[in-house]
Every structure is written in structure tokens, then in C-alpha cells.
């Protein structure tokens, strides 16, 4: 699958020559960039690129985390919410809806799909083994892609950048304004989620369900509702990520597969069930991909996530930050 174009084209070499030329031509405001600076600029460029895609992986990983904590289900349809957010916005805008409303409707649609997934596929299979539930989410993911092919189409689509496409120069590298939207949006969502979980009774009920499902039921928390909430929230988070990143990476009905893979890898690296781990894991996978593509070959970019999953499984099954601690009596 060739869905994901690197977030920022790594063309620093030409740019530096260009800068040198301008300097020779007498533009004093342009610094000369030597060999060390060049290495540094390339490095920075890859960091920007990695953090941008990594932010989206972080959001997908957060979605995995939310659902996993509420139910031990690993929802492999998680990446498809990213697709619904991006594709939904693209097609709504094509139909003449203004960007903010298109985003809103697309995110609400993703939430509805998330709730339906829970209601029609997960809830009826309550009590089934985790493996069976994972198979169900994989089936749901294939189904969503099938429907998306019909509702949308099979082409790649993009969205206009939210605030222009003039790259911003930082330390010899450049960053697209849209990258700020992606990274800033990720940070805002993480903060919002934190506020919800830590500062509201319902949020605490979600945390309580994650910590001890039996005790949660005994105090009267309806764990079915909590799980539905987790599905809805994770869908919203994924869809917003999809909207933010589509101006940079393009989208298509099937981009969810790679986002799910990478978000899953991110959640594993951070320690499945750990929200901070999910964010750090997402950024790490993004950075490793960017460095792999920049310094080795972009051919193997998508292999980074696979390798990360294998390494985590073999070397540190708990991930960097440890799994969600299971209650022990």
C-alpha cells in the first residue's frame, strides 16, 4: 500500500545550494551553511517530518489504548476512523460544505461508525475470547473499507492546507504550516482527553473500569456504556487525526490499514494500555520511519512498524512504559 507520502520532502541539499547561491549573489541576510550545519539541517528536517506523522500514529495509538483499557479488545478498525475523518471531509467539501462543518460532520460520522461497531459487533460477542474479538474488529475493518470504496471511491484525495503551504524555515530545515496543525492538534486532543479522564466523574469511571472491571460494576458503573464511550472517543480522536494529516499525506479508502498497523506498533512500544506510552510510542515510530527513510531507504519505511512490533514482543513485552497494571488481589 502506497498511501503515505513522507510528511515533508527531504530536499534540503538543493535548498542549501540555493541558499549558497543567494549568499554569493550578495544577499547578506542569508547565512552560509557549512557541512556540519548541513547535517544538522537534514537531521532537523527528518525530526519535523517524523514528529508530524508520529503525531497521527500517537492519536491512533491513543484510540487503541482507550478501547483496550475499557475492554481488553484491540480494535484493528482503529485506523479506519482516520480514513473516515479524511475522506469524509474531502467528499463533503467537494459537495460544497465549508471546511469547519465538513470536519464536524466527518468526525460525527466516524463516532457513529465507532458506536455501531461496538453495538453491532463487539457487544453481541460479549464474553468471547480476546482473540475472537480481535478477529471481529479485523472483519469490521475490511467491511468498513468495502463500504468506503462504494460511498467514496478508490482514488487518492487531498485537502487544502488549513493555513497556507509556505514552508517555515527553522534552523536550516523547513516545516509546513500544516505540520503545526497536526502536532498542535495532537497535543490539544491529548490535553482534552486528560482533562476528561482526570476532571470528570464519567472520566474517572472510565479509569475505574480500566483499573478493575468487577469493582466498577459493583459501584454501579455500566461498563457497556463505558466501552461504547471508549469506542466513540477513539473514533473521534482518530478522525480528527485523519482530517489534520490529509493535506500532507493524502488519503484513500484503505489508508486505515497502515495507520492501524503503525498505531498498534506505537501502542506496543509505549506499553499497551498506557496513554503516555501511546503518545511517546507514536512519535517514536514516526521518527524512526523518517530516519529510516532519510538515512537508509524509503523502500522500507513501512517495515519500521513491523520491526518495532517484533522487537517489543521479543525483547520488552511490557513496552517502554509498562502495560496497564493488572489489579492483583
Amino acid at each position: 500500500m502506497a498511501g503515505l507520502v513522507p510528511a515533508i520532502h527531504v530536499l534540503f541539499g538543493d535548498e542549501v545550494e540555493h541558499v549558497d547561491a543567494r549568499h554569493k549573489a550578495g544577499h547578506d541576510d542569508v547565512r552560509v551553511c557549512g557541512a556540519g550545519c548541513k547535517v544538522m539541517a537534514e537531521f532537523l528536517q527528518l525530526v519535523f517530518s517524523g514528529l508530524t506523522v508520529g503525531a497521527v500514529y500517537a492519536l491512533v495509538a491513543l484510540g487503541f489504548t482507550l478501547v483496550y483499557n475499557a475492554s481488553d479488545v484491540i480494535n484493528f478498525a482503529q485506523g479506519d476512523f482516520v480514513m473516515i475523518g479524511g475522506m469524509g471531509t474531502v467528499f463533503l467539501m467537494a459537495a460544497g460544505v465549508a471546511l469547519p462543518f465538513a470536519v464536524l460532520i466527518a468526525v460525527v460520522a466516524a463516532v457513529l461508525v465507532g458506536l455501531l461497531l461496538h453495538r453491532l459487533a463487539i457487544e453481541p460477542a460479549r464474553g468471547a475470547s480476546p482473540v475472537a474479538l480481535i478477529m471481529i474488529t479485523i472483519g469490521a475493518s475490511i467491511f468498513i473499507k468495502g463500504v468506503a470504496q462504494i460511498v467514496f471511491d478508490k482514488q487518492f484525495h487531498s485537502l487544502p492546507a488549513f493555513s497556507g503551504t509556505d514552508p517555515i524555515a527553522i534552523g536550516g530545515a523547513t516545516i509546513l504550516p500544516q505540520s503545526f496543525w497536526v502536532i498542535g492538534g495532537m497535543l490539544a486532543l491529548v490535553f482534552g482527553l486528560w482533562l476528561f479522564l482526570e476532571r470528570t466523574l464519567i472520566g474517572k469511571a472510565v479509569l475505574a473500569t480500566a483499573a478493575n472491571r468487577l469493582a466498577a460494576r459493583l459501584v454501579g458503573i455500566n461498563v457497556t456504556v463505558v466501552l461504547a464511550l471508549a469506542f466513540g472517543l477513539s473514533a473521534a480522536i482518530g478522525a480528527v487525526g485523519g482530517v489534520l494529516v490529509t493535506p500532507i499525506t493524502l488519503t484513500r479508502y484503505d489508508v486505515g490499514t497502515l495507520f492501524a498497523l503503525k498505531g498498534f506498533a506505537a501502542a506496543m512500544v509505549g506499553g499497551m494500555g498506557n496513554p503516555i506510552g501511546a503518545v511517546v510510542g507514536g512519535l517514536l515510530i514516526g521518527l524512526m520511519e523518517a530516519f529510516g527513510a532519510g538515512y537508509l531507504s524509503s523502500t522500507y519505511k513501512d517495515a519500521v512498524a513491523f520491526v518495532a512490533i517484533l522487537v517489543v514482543l521479543l525483547v520488552m513485552p511490557q513496552g517502554l512504559f509498562g502495560r496497564r497494571s493488572v489489579e492483583r488481589v
Binding site: K204, L207, L214, A216, L218, V219, G220, S325, V329
Partner: protein, 233 residues
């Protein structure tokens, strides 16, 4: 207050409760004793609705609550402090208590919180610490406190003395007597039969899923058969 009639329950195909019938009159402490694996915990789980019943009726204050989900039973006034404490480990002591009031969330929560802190002052000292860092005895107080936050009419206590030092056991049982004085009905499950029967108005002895003895607490304590089987004398 609570009448259980012919209640059976199973894990998968293995039935572990075979037609239990018992009565918990309002305002009393009723002790349910029995050895390991008799089905005491299963009975309390079934009463709270976290374990399905396969036969029988559970009538609470005149209403058949058999088909109600757990949260609806909490709203009717049944709260449980489960076996093994089951505190929300990563959450603070205070959050654990507040979550106990999840179905009774009104402006009296603050007052109820203070009442629990008055009852168990050590919880007040540690209100900002994660529940997982409490000692076993403190976690037990927390589990009871959390159940009380639901303002129960009927409190189900599953082995509150398990694994505690004798001094703490006395403190917990004194708290149970205190609750009775405040008008809360208590169904107390204990392996520590002599301690439980000593404070109970009524007692039931459960043996592999059946009630085999019942009577006044002190009378059961004196019963030679009960003494031989459960009190080790």
C-alpha cells in the same frame, strides 16, 4: 428486607449454588459462614448481579430484582465490599470513595465523604495516595467506605477480616456493629465464623452450595455440630 428463594448459580456448566433460601431482616446483621469454596462469594456476586442466577428469586424490599443489572441494584440500595477488596489501584483513595457514590451523585457526597473519613481516619490521612499503596487493612477500610458512599440500605461484606491482624479484625467488626446502629442492614460473609456469629443477629451455614444450618447468631455459636465443623472445637 432481602429474601432469597431457591437461588442457584453456575460457572459455565458447573453449578455451585443449589437452591439457596435465606432471609435478611431489616436492621440486622446476618452472618453467612462456611468453609473454603462453599459458595459464599458466589452468592454475594449473584445478589449484586455480577453473576447470573440459573434459578430462584431475589426479592429486595418487596421487588423481584433478579433481572436487574448491577447498577440498578446499587440504585435500589444494595452495595458490596467484595472479596479481595478490589480497590481501584491507580486511583487515589478519595477517587475510590467518590466512585462509590457514582449512582448517588448529589450535594451530599461531600458530607458522606467526611463521614467515611470520621469512621476510618487513616483514609483521610491518605486521601491523595493511590489505593494500591495502602496496606491490606487500609484497603479493606477503603472497600467498605466505597460501598458506604452508595448510601446502601443493605451492605454486603465479603470476608472483611481476611488477611488482617487480629487488632484490625476487631476494628473492622466494631465498625460493622456501628453500621447496624446507624440503620444499615448487613449481610456478612466470613470464614472466621466465631467472630462473625458473635456480632450477628442471625447466621446461616453454607456447605458446598447448600444452607445446612441456620439460626440465631449466638445459638449457632453454641451448636455442637457447627462448633465441630466450623469453629475447630
Amino acid at each position: 428486607m432481602l429474601t432469597v428463594d431457591g437461588l442457584s448459580s453456575a460457572y459455565g456448566r458447573i453449578e455451585v449454588l443449589h437452591g439457596i433460601s435465606l432471609d435478611v431482616p431489616a436492621g440486622e446483621i446476618v452472618a453467612l459462614v462456611g468453609s473454603n469454596g462453599a459458595g459464599k462469594t458466589t452468592l454475594l456476586r449473584t445478589l449484586s448481579g455480577v453473576q447470573p442466577a440459573s434459578a430462584g428469586r431475589i426479592v429486595f424490599q418487596g421487588e423481584d430484582i433478579q433481572a436487574l443489572p448491577p447498577h440498578a441494584r446499587v440504585m435500589r440500595g444494595i452495595a458490596q465490599s467484595p472479596e479481595g477488596r478490589q480497590v481501584f489501584g491507580p486511583l487515589t483513595v478519595e477517587d475510590n470513595l467518590r466512585l462509590g457514590a457514582f449512582r448517588r451523585w448529589d450535594d451530599t457526597v461531600r458530607g458522606r465523604l467526611e463521614a467515611v473519613y470520621t469512621m476510618f481516619p487513616v483514609l483521610a490521612e491518605r486521601r491523595r495516595t493511590p489505593a494500591s499503596s495502602l496496606s491490606g487493612g487500609q484497603q479493606q477500610m477503603l472497600a467498605i467506605g466505597r460501598a458506604l458512599m452508595a448510601q446502601p440500605k443493605l451492605l454486603l461484606l465479603d470476608e472483611p477480616s481476611l488477611g488482617l491482624a487480629p487488632l484490625l479484625v476487631d476494628q473492622i467488626l466494631a465498625a460493622v456493629v456501628d453500621l447496624k446502629q446507624k440503620g444499615i442492614t448487613v449481610l456478612l460473609v466470613e470464614q472466621n465464623a466465631s467472630a462473625a456469629l458473635a456480632i450477628a443477629d442471625r447466621g446461616y451455614v453454607l456447605e458446598v452450595g447448600r444452607i445446612v444450618h441456620e439460626g440465631e447468631g449466638r445459638a449457632l455459636l453454641q451448636d455442637p455440630k457447627v462448633r465441630a465443623a466450623y469453629l475447630g472445637v
